[in-house]
């Protein structure tokens, strides 16, 4: 998009296999500042693997990932931790810490990563993050008492509290009803506007893709098949892509 400025995330020739299963077979992808890139793909096509490689939760077989100018897989643990603080990761099942209530969930990464914060500051930051996701009243609730949509929001708030520059969303609308999904899509947009984050959104939900994505990339058989705007990507007769579209929308928009 904005030519000139280097991409925030730059993926080149990424290859990853689990045993005989070649999940990613040479992926190239650039994400620029304040840009939402949606990666579409079928279940098991390795979408989640892609963003886990970005934060070095997994190691690639070949290829390189450059995030914020740093080669992720060549970093030492300390440098990697420093980089990870600048990247937010929203998990598919939110991954809230079951043993902690909502505000402890938010407090935990904050306390562990920033020293010398007063109790008041911590409280303010938690309040801000909760307000940003529209759940300012649920401090003392336990994760098990929250609905799926609320969990998602708290999960996002937990990553926002460290003020990340990059957000990675793994299936943000999976398992949510359409109304809640719409609210989450809105939240993703708000986050970008408020925090100017670059985002990769992994999904198979085309509504989500259309609502949040500036660019859409189609991941099929381990390769990025089509990259472009939503309409560009689906302007094709490739049955693998039209199959996607037909399930999500009963008629052409």
């Amino acid at each position: 998009m904005t030519a000139g400025a280097p991409p925030v995330i730059s993926i080149r020739g990424l290859y990853k296999a689990f045993g005989d299963l070649e999940v990613l077979q040479g992926i190239d992808l650039d994400v620029h500042k304040a840009e939402n890139v949606v990666v579409l793909g079928r279940s098991g096509s390795g979408k989640s693997v892609l963003i886990k490689l970005v934060v070095a939760l997994l190691k690639p077989d070949y290829g390189e990932v450059v995030v914020l100018g740093q080669h992720v897989h060549q970093l030492k643990q300390k440098e990697l931790d420093a980089l990870r603080r600048r990247v937010g990761f929203s998990f598919q099942h939110s991954a809230l810490y079951d043993s902690m209530n909502v505000s402890e969930n938010l407090e935990f990464p904050l306390r562990m990563n920033t020293s010398g914060l007063s109790t008041g500051e911590v409280r303010d930051r938690i309040q801000q993050a909760l307000e940003a996701v529209g759940l300012a009243q649920s401090h003392k609730q336990m994760p098990s008492e929250l609905s799926g949509g609320q969990r998602k929001r708290i999960g996002i708030a937990r990553t926002l509290i460290l003020q990340p520059e990059i957000m990675l969303y793994d299936e943000p609308t999976a398992g949510l009803d359409p109304v809640t999904s719409g609210e989450i899509n809105e939240l993703i947009q708000q986050v970008r506007e408020k925090f100017h984050t670059a985002s990769i959104i992994i999904t198979h939900d085309l509504t989500c893709a259309r609502a949040t994505g500036d660019r859409v990339a189609m991941l099929l058989d381990g390769q990025m098949l089509r990259v472009g705007s939503f309409d560009e990507v689906f302007d094709t007769q490739d049955p693998r892509i039209t199959g996607f579209y037909k399930y999500n929308f009963t008629e052409h928009p």
């Binding site: 998990f91 079951d98 990464p109």
Partner: protein, 249 residues
């Protein structure tokens, strides 16, 4: 057989990693205290109850054999030796393996399965340090403490029984009981318990940390943690007793 070798390799790597991470910052003291509370204080009732019952039952069951040759006056020393040297460390370890091992195994297993461990990692928090090191340290410290409680309460149970049947006074009971116990015994029991606690914690963490995905994986991790921990406790009991017998002057 291959999977066994892989297991041994991974387990050893886990063990080494524990010591590497144990002695580097941050120490997560607050979490350590919380885990000590969970492991120690919350098991206290169970351990003391079991110890008490063991003391009474063991005394009751030993009496007829000793009475057969008129040596009921040996009951206190028999019970004390049995409790201090073997029963208290073993009972404590087995109960902790069951209670603490399964809870740690299930907790870490479900954290693994629901990506909470990865969530920690991407928040730049070392989950090994935060979860494994604190929990293993807590069991290593608390199992010996629980063993001491178990000992005390077991002797109390035994004393009550001896007092009711032989009308022995407390000083007489203690004098007779402790006359056969040496520093070596006390030291050996505490050492044993330290090893037991460490193994229980590390094994439960290992099994939880490496739980396979799915809710089934959580159950399997908890189960495997208990089974392996109990097995290892017995192996260690045997080995440590051997070593201590060898070093006897």
């Amino acid at each position: 057989m291959d999977s066994f070798a892989v297991g041994v390799h991974d387990g050893s790597a886990f063990l080494v990693r524990f010591f590497v991470e144990r002695f580097s910052r941050p120490f997560h003291l607050r979490e350590l205290v919380k885990q000590c509370y969970e492991v120690g204080c919350k098991s206290l009732f169970l351990i003391t109850l079991t110890g008490f019952i063991t003391g009474i039952v063991f005394t009751k069951q030993s009496r007829p054999s000793l009475a057969a040759f008129g040596a009921t006056s040996w009951l206190p020393s028999l019970i004390t030796v049995a409790l201090v040297r073997s029963l208290a460390p073993l009972i404590t370890a087995l109960i902790c393996a069951g209670k603490v091992g399964s809870s740690i195994g299930a907790e870490l297993g479900s954290m693994k399965v629901t990506e909470q461990i990865e969530a920690m990692e991407v928040s730049a928090i070392n989950p090994f340090k935060y979860l494994v090191v604190t929990r293993t340290t807590a069991t290593t410290l608390m199992v010996p403490a629980l063993m001491l409680y178990c000992c005390l309460v077991g002797l109390a149970g035994s004393y009550l029984n001896v007092h009711a049947n032989e009308a022995a006074s407390l000083p007489a009971f203690l004098k007779s009981g402790f006359s056969t116990i040496t520093f070596r015994d006390a030291f050996a029991s505490v050492t044993k318990s330290v090893f037991f606690g460490f193994s229980i914690g590390l094994i439960a963490c290992y099994k939880g940390f490496n739980a396979s995905s799915g809710t089934q994986g959580v159950g399997r991790a908890a189960n495997a943690a208990v089974v392996l921990a109990m097995f290892v406790v017995f192996i260690e009991e045997m080995l440590i007793v051997q070593v201590i017998t060898w070093t006897k002057p």
